[in-house]
C-alpha cells in the first residue's frame, strides 16, 4: 500500500508564546523548594562514604546535643515501623532487589542513605549530618561488570550472585547468514554511565494532618499518582491518605519518574512523628550521588550484508551495569528491542545481560535504553557501509526501504533521508569536508589541524512487520521513544545461575497485584506492570474537561508537564474541539485530589496519550453540550456545532446562536464535565534522521559540532515551536552524552564526578545550532495524530555525532576509531596517538 506523505500546516490557533511562560519569566513559578510552611523543619540525609560496607553502629549523641536537632531515623527504625522496602516494578524479568529507604545492615553504594535527621535551621543541616557517627566495616567492592560477573562480592546475599536479568531478540539464523554474507563487521561499542541532570534538584515538602492521619506532599515528580501509590504501599496506608502535588518542576528527564527514592517516605515519617512540616532539598552532589543515572551499556556487535548492501544479519551481545538496581530495569531490554531500528533485518540474534554493582541504581534517562540501541546499530551500520564501499546515506536508503512503501501512519524513512540531503545542502557539506581535508593534507597539521566529519543516523522503528516473516512479538520495538511498555519474551532474572530473588507481595503500585500481560499479547493489550482497573497502564492517560457557567473551560490531565508545554498544547486541543478561544481554557495537572487517576509525563507519552485523552474528553463534553443546546434552543442537535465560543448551525458556522454560558444559564447548570480514560491501541513515536557536521582538531583531540540537522516525523504537530524545542534539547542531551558526560567511579566505588565541574553538561558554547525539518505523517493510533517526540532527538544524536567523529578520523588513514562514548578530547587524543605509535600510516584491517 502506498500513501502520500503530507506535512500538515502549523495549527492556526497555535499561540505565539506558551501559556505557562508568563509566570516562569517573571519569577512567579512555584517549584517545590519555593514553598515554605510555618515552622517547617529540614531533613538531612547521612550517606555512606563507602560503596559497600557493613554498618556496625549509628550514633546520634553528638548531633543530639545541638539545639537544632529534632529527630533521627535509621534503617532499623524503619523495620520497627513496618515500612516496606523501596518499590520495584514487578516486571517478571527483573530480579527483586530488597533495599530500604535507609540501609539496613549494610550500605551498597557510596551515597546510599544510612540515616536521616530532622533539623530546625536550614543552615545547620550539614553541620549536624557531620556530627552523626557511623561505624562501618568496608566490604569488597564491585564497580564493573567484569567484577560483578566474577562475584567479587555479592551485593544481594539472597541472590547468590550478581546477575539481574537476561533477555533476547531472535529471528531467523544469524550465525548462518553471517557465515555466508558478502561483508561483515565486528565492533565493540559502549556508552558510559551518564546523568539525567535536571537543573532543579529533587525536593519534597510534607505536612501531616494528625486529625485525618493524612499527608500533604509536594514533590518533584513526573507522576504524582505513581508517587502517591508508592507512598501508600511503602508506608502501608490507604492511598487516599496522601495528597500529592507538583506545580512547576525544573526538568526531570526520567530521573524524577518512576524511580523509588527514599526521601518522600522518610519525610512523611518525620512529619507524622514530630507534627512539623518537613522539607528536603537535594544538594547538587546528592543529586549526582543518588538520582537515577542511565546508560552504562556495552555491546559486541556483528553486522553483515549481502553484495548489494542489504543487511542480512545482526548478532549482538549487550551488557548493562545496573548499579544496585532500582525500581525499573527495563532500559537494557529496551535497548535490544529498539536496536534493529528501522531496518528489516531477517536474521537477528540479540541478547542482553544485566548485572548489579556497587553504584547508584540506573533508571530511565531521556530515551531509557533507546539511545543505546540506536547508537549500537547506527555505528555498526556506518562501519558496514564503509566495508561494503557504499556511502552511509545510500547504504541506509537501501536498507530502510520497503517494497510496498510505509504503512499508514508510519514514517517514510526514504523521504526523511531525501529531505535531509536537501535541507542540509549535503553536497556543500561534502565539499566543505573535502576542502578541509585538502588543506590538512597539503599544508600539514602544523598549519591546519582541523579535519571535517559528517555523520548520519536514523532513529525510529518499522512498526509494521512482514507477515511472512512470522514474528512472534509485533511492534515491541518502539524505536523512536523511550517506551516503558515494551513486552517481549523474557527469561527470568539471573539466567541459569541463581534463584530469581525474593518477590514480596504488596509491592505493586497501588497494591493491586501484578497484571503483567504475557509476551504473546498484541500491543494494545500490553500494559504497564501493575495495571488494573485502579492503576492505569502506560498506554493510558486520563483527562476531564469541564465548562463552567462563565463559559470557561478547565482541562484536568493525568499527565504532568515540566517543560513540555502541555499547559499550552492541551489548551490548544480543547480549544479546537470545543470551539472556544484559547484564553478561556485552563489546564490543571499534578494533584491527586483534583485528578484522582493518571500516569504522568515520561517516555515520550504525553502529547500522544495525554493529548488523546484530552480530545476524547472534549468530544464527550461537546456531545453533552450540543444536546443541552438543542434542548435550550429548540434546534436539532445534529445540525449544531460549537464554534467561536458558542453554538452554531453547522451550515452557518459564523452565526453564533447562543454562547456557551447562555446555554448553561438556561439549563441552570453550574458546570458540565466529561472524563476520559483513554488507552492507545498501539505505540506511537517519532522517527527521524540526523546529520552532524563537525571539526576535529587532530592536535588537541577536540571536537566542535558546526552544523546539526534533524528531519523528523512526529505526526501532527500540535505546536511547532514546542516540537522543535523538544528536539533541540533532546539532541543536546545526547551531544553532551557523546562528547563529555561521564559519571566516573574509582575502583573503590567513589563517584568522582559529583558537581557540575566534574560532570560536564554542555554549555551554550558547546552547542550546535540544531536545525529541524519536518516530514510528518499523522499517527493513526492517537486522536490528535501526534507521535511522542520527547526522546527522539536523544535517541538519534549519539550515533550521528560519533559517526561524524569517526568519519573525520578515517581521513587520517591510521585506522584510529572511537566507539566508546563519551568521546572526550582525552579519549580522542589517545585514540589518535595509539594508532600513530602502533601502526604508522597503516590502515586498520577493521
Amino acid at each position: 500500500m502506498t500513501m502520500s506523505v503530507t506535512t500538515p500546516k502549523q495549527r492556526e490557533d497555535a499561540p505565539e508564546g506558551r501559556v505557562e511562560d508568563r509566570r516562569l519569566l517573571t519569577g512567579k513559578g512555584r517549584y517545590v523548594d519555593d514553598l515554605k510552611l510555618e515552622g517547617q523543619a529540614y531533613m538531612g540525609m547521612v550517606r555512606s562514604p563507602y560503596a559497600h560496607a557493613k554498618i556496625n553502629s549509628i550514633d546520634f549523641s553528638k548531633a543530639r546535643e545541638s539545639p537544632d536537632f529534632i529527630a533521627s531515623l535509621t534503617g532499623e527504625d524503619l523495620l520497627k515501623e513496618g515500612v516496606q522496602p523501596l518499590s520495584q516494578n514487578p516486571w517478571p524479568f527483573q530480579k527483586r532487589a530488597k533495599r530500604y529507604h535507609l540501609a539496613v545492615g549494610k550500605a551498597r553504594f557510596a551515597g546510599e542513605p544510612v540515616a536521616a535527621i530532622l533539623v530546625r535551621d536550614k543552615n545547620s543541616v550539614e553541620d549536624l549530618i557531620d556530627l552523626v557517627e557511623v561505624d562501618y566495616d568496608s566490604l569488597p567492592v564491585v564497580t564493573t561488570i567484569e567484577e560483578s560477573k566474577q562475584n567479587k562480592a555479592i551485593i544481594y546475599e539472597d541472590w547468590g550472585n550478581n546477575a539481574s536479568l537476561t533477555s533476547e531478540v531472535k529471528k531467523g539464523d544469524a550465525e548462518k547468514a553471517i557465515a555466508s554474507a558478502a561483508f561483515v563487521i565486528h565492533a565493540r561499542e559502549g556508552i558510559a554511565r551518564q546523568g539525567a541532570a535536571p537543573i532543579e534538584p529533587h525536593a519534597v515538602l510534607v505536612e501531616y494532618d494528625s486529625k485525618q492521619d493524612s499527608y500533604d506532599v509536594w514533590a518533584t515528580v513526573q507522576s504524582v499518582h505513581g508517587t502517591r501509590d508508592k507512598l501508600a504501599s511503602e508506608l502501608k496506608k490507604p492511598k487516599e491518605k496522601f495528597h500529592v502535588r507538583v506545580m512547576d518542576m525544573g526538568g526531570g528527564f526520567g530521573s524524577k519518574g518512576a524511580q523509588s527514592y527514599p526521601e518522600a517516605p522518610l519525610a512523611c515519617i518525620f512529619a507524622r512523628r514530630t507534627g512539623l512540616p518537613v522539607k528536603w532539598t537535594a544538594t547538587r552532589s546528592e543529586e549526582f550521588l543518588e538520582a537515577a543515572s542511565g546508560r552504562d551499556e556495552y555491546c559486541d556487535i556483528t553486522l553483515a550484508c549481502d553484495k548489494n548492501g542489504r543487511i542480512v544479519a545482526v548478532k549482538a551481545s549487550v551488557e548493562c551495569d545496573l548499579g544496585v538496581t532500582g525500581s525499573q530495569a527495563h532500559m537494557p531490554t529496551m535497548t535490544i528491542e529498539t536496536m534493529p531500528g528501522p531496518y528489516r533485518i531477517p536474521n537477528q540474534d540479540i541478547t542482553v545481560a544485566a548485572y548489579v554493582t556497587n553504584k547508584m541504581p540506573i533508571g530511565p534517562v531521556r530515551g531509557a535504553g533507546g539511545p543505546e540501541g540506536c547508537y549500537f546499530i547506527e555505528r555498526a551500520v556506518d562501519l558496514l557501509a564503509r566495508r561494503a564501499g557504499l556511502d552511509p546515506l545510500e547504504f541506509r536508503r537501501r536498507n530502510v526501504s520497503r517494497r510496498e512503501g510505509p504503512a499508514e501512519g508510519e514514517a517514510d524513512f526514504r523521504l526523511l533521508l531525501d529531505t535531509l540531503v536537501k535541507s542540509s545542502h549535503y553536497e556543500e557539506l561534502s565539499r566543505w569536508r573535502s576542502d578541509l581535508h585538502s588543506k590538512f593534507a597539503q599544508q600539514g597539521p602544523s598549519h591546519s589541524s582541523l579535519i571535517g566529519g559528517l555523520g548520519v543516523s536514523v532513529t525510529g522503528s518499522d512498526e509494521s512487520e512482514d507477515e511472512e516473516e512470522g514474528e512472534d512479538w509485533s511492534g515491541a520495538s518502539s524505536g523512536g521513544g523511550g517506551a516503558d511498555g515494551g513486552s517481549k519474551p523474557w527469561q527470568p532474572g539471573g539466567g541459569s545461575s541463581g534463584g530469581a530473588g525474593e518477590r514480596w507481595a504488596g509491592q505493586t503500585p497501588g497494591g493491586s497485584g501484578a497484571a503483567w500481560q504475557s509476551s504473546g499479547d498484541s500491543p494494545e493489550r500490553r500494559t504497564w506492570p501493575g495495571a488494573s482497573e485502579e492503576t492505569l497502564g502506560f498506554m493510558s492517560e486520563t483527562a476531564r474537561v469541564t465548562l463552567d457557567k462563565e463559559g470557561k473551560v478547565t482541562v484536568y490531565t493525568g499527565s504532568s508537564p515540566h517543560g513540555q508545554g502541555e499547559e499550552t498544547t492541551f489548551a490548544q486541543l480543547a480549544s479546537e474541539e470545543l470551539g472556544v478561544p484559547l484564553k478561556d481554557v485552563t489546564v490543571v495537572w499534578g494533584d491527586t485530589t483534583l485528578i484522582p487517576r493518571g500516569i504522568g509525563t515520561f517516555g515520550s507519552r504525553s502529547a500522544a496519550t495525554g493529548g488523546s485523552a484530552v480530545i476524547d474528553a472534549s468530544r464527550k463534553l461537546k456531545a453533552q453540550l450540543v444536546v443541552r443546546a438543542s434542548e435550550a434552543l429548540g434546534v436539532d442537535a445534529k445540525s449544531l456545532d460549537m464554534r467561536g465560543g458558542g453554538f452554531v448551525r453547522a451550515s452557518q458556522p459564523d452565526a453564533v446562536l447562543a454562547t456557551l454560558n447562555d446555554v448553561l444559564v438556561k439549563q441552570r447548570a453550574d458546570e458540565v464535565s466529561a472524563s476520559s480514560v483513554f488507552t492507545l491501541s498501539g505505540l506511537s513515536y517519532s522517527s527521524g534522521v540526523h546529520l552532524c557536521a563537525l571539526t576535529l582538531d587532530v592536535e588537541l583531540g577536540k571536537v566542535k559540532i558546526v552544523k546539526y540537522f534533524v528531519v523528523e516525523d512526529c505526526g501532527r504537530m500540535i505546536n511547532k515551536a514546542i516540537v522543535e524545542g523538544q528536539l533541540h534539547g533532546g539532541v543536546l542531551h545526547a551531544v553532551g552524552g557523546a562528547l563529555f558526560e561521564r559519571l566516573a567511579y574509582d575502583e573503590e566505588g567513589n563517584l568522582l564526578s559529583s558537581t557540575f565541574m566534574d560532570y560536564n553538561i554542555p554549555t551554550a558554547l558547546d552547542s550546535p545550532e540544531v536545525q529541524v525539518f519536518h516530514e510528518t505523517t499523522p499517527s493513526t493510533v492517537t486522536l490528535d495524530g501526534a507521535k511522542g517526540v520527547g526522546e527522539s532527538g536523544t535517541n538519534g544524536a549519539y550515533a550521528a555525532v560519533i559517526n561524524a567523529l569517526n568519519d573525520a578520523l578515517s581521513q587520517l588513514g591510521t585506522g584510529a576509531e572511537v566507539n566508546m562514548v563519551p568521546a572526550t578530547p582525552d579519549a580522542v587524543f589517545r585514540a589518535l596517538n595509539a594508532k600513530r605509535a602502533k601502526t604508522p600510516a597503516a590502515r586498520d584491517s577493521s
Binding site: G17, K36, T763
Partner: protein, 158 residues
C-alpha cells in the same frame, strides 16, 4: 540593601548566602538554586549592575548594594523586552534556569547591544540549561537585542 528598587534589610547569620537571603528572607523565589557550587547560574542576579552568582556571595557582602532579581524586570504587567523575547521565541521550557539566563542576557546586552551569536553564546556560557539546547535562548537574546535597540528601553534600566 536595595532589592528591585525597594529598601530591604534583615539580620542574618554571617554564613547566610545571598541567594538564601533573597529566597528565604525576602521571599523572592524567582532566583533558583541549581548546584550550590557556582556552575549552573540559576541563581544569577545583578548586584550593582553586574551579574553575580548569588550562591557564591554572602548576604553580608551585598550590604548596601543595589540588587536586581527576576521579579524586578517587568514593570507592572508589562514584560521587560528580554522577557518578551524569551516568551515569543520559546526561549524556555521548564523555566528553572530562565531567571539566571534573563540576567546574563540582559547584562550582555547592556554592554554589547548588538552581539553576534558567538558573543551571545559567550555571554550566557555560565548558565546551564538542560531543556532548550540553547537554540531558542540564543534566538531570544538576539531578538531582545533588536527590540531593545529599536525601543531604546530596558537597556538602560537596572
Amino acid at each position: 540593601m536595595k532589592v528591585n528598587g525597594k529598601q530591604v534589610g534583615g539580620t542574618v547569620e554571617p554564613r547566610t548566602l545571598l541567594v538564601n537571603f533573597i529566597r528565604d528572607d525576602l521571599g523572592l523565589t524567582g532566583t533558583h538554586v541549581g548546584c550550590d557550587t557556582g556552575h549552573c547560574g540559576a541563581c544569577t542576579v545583578m548586584v550593582d549592575g553586574r551579574t553575580v552568582k548569588s550562591c557564591m556571595v554572602l548576604a553580608v557582602q551585598a550590604r548596601g548594594a543595589e540588587i536586581l532579581t527576576v521579579e524586578g524586570l517587568a514593570q507592572g504587567d508589562k514584560l521587560h523586552p528580554i522577557q518578551e523575547a524569551f516568551w515569543k521565541n520559546h526561549g524556555l521550557q521548564c523555566g528553572f534556569c530562565t531567571p539566571g539566563l534573563l540576567m546574563s542576557g540582559l547584562y550582555l546586552l547592556q554592554r554589547n547591544p548588538d552581539p553576534t551569536d558567538e558573543e551571545i553564546r559567550r555571554g550566557i556560557e555560565g548558565n546551564l540549561c538542560r531543556c532548550t539546547g540553547y537554540v531558542n535562548v540564543v534566538k531570544s537574546v538576539r531578538a531582545a537585542s533588536k527590540s531593545m535597540r529599536k525601543g531604546g528601553e530596558g537597556g538602560a534600566r537596572a
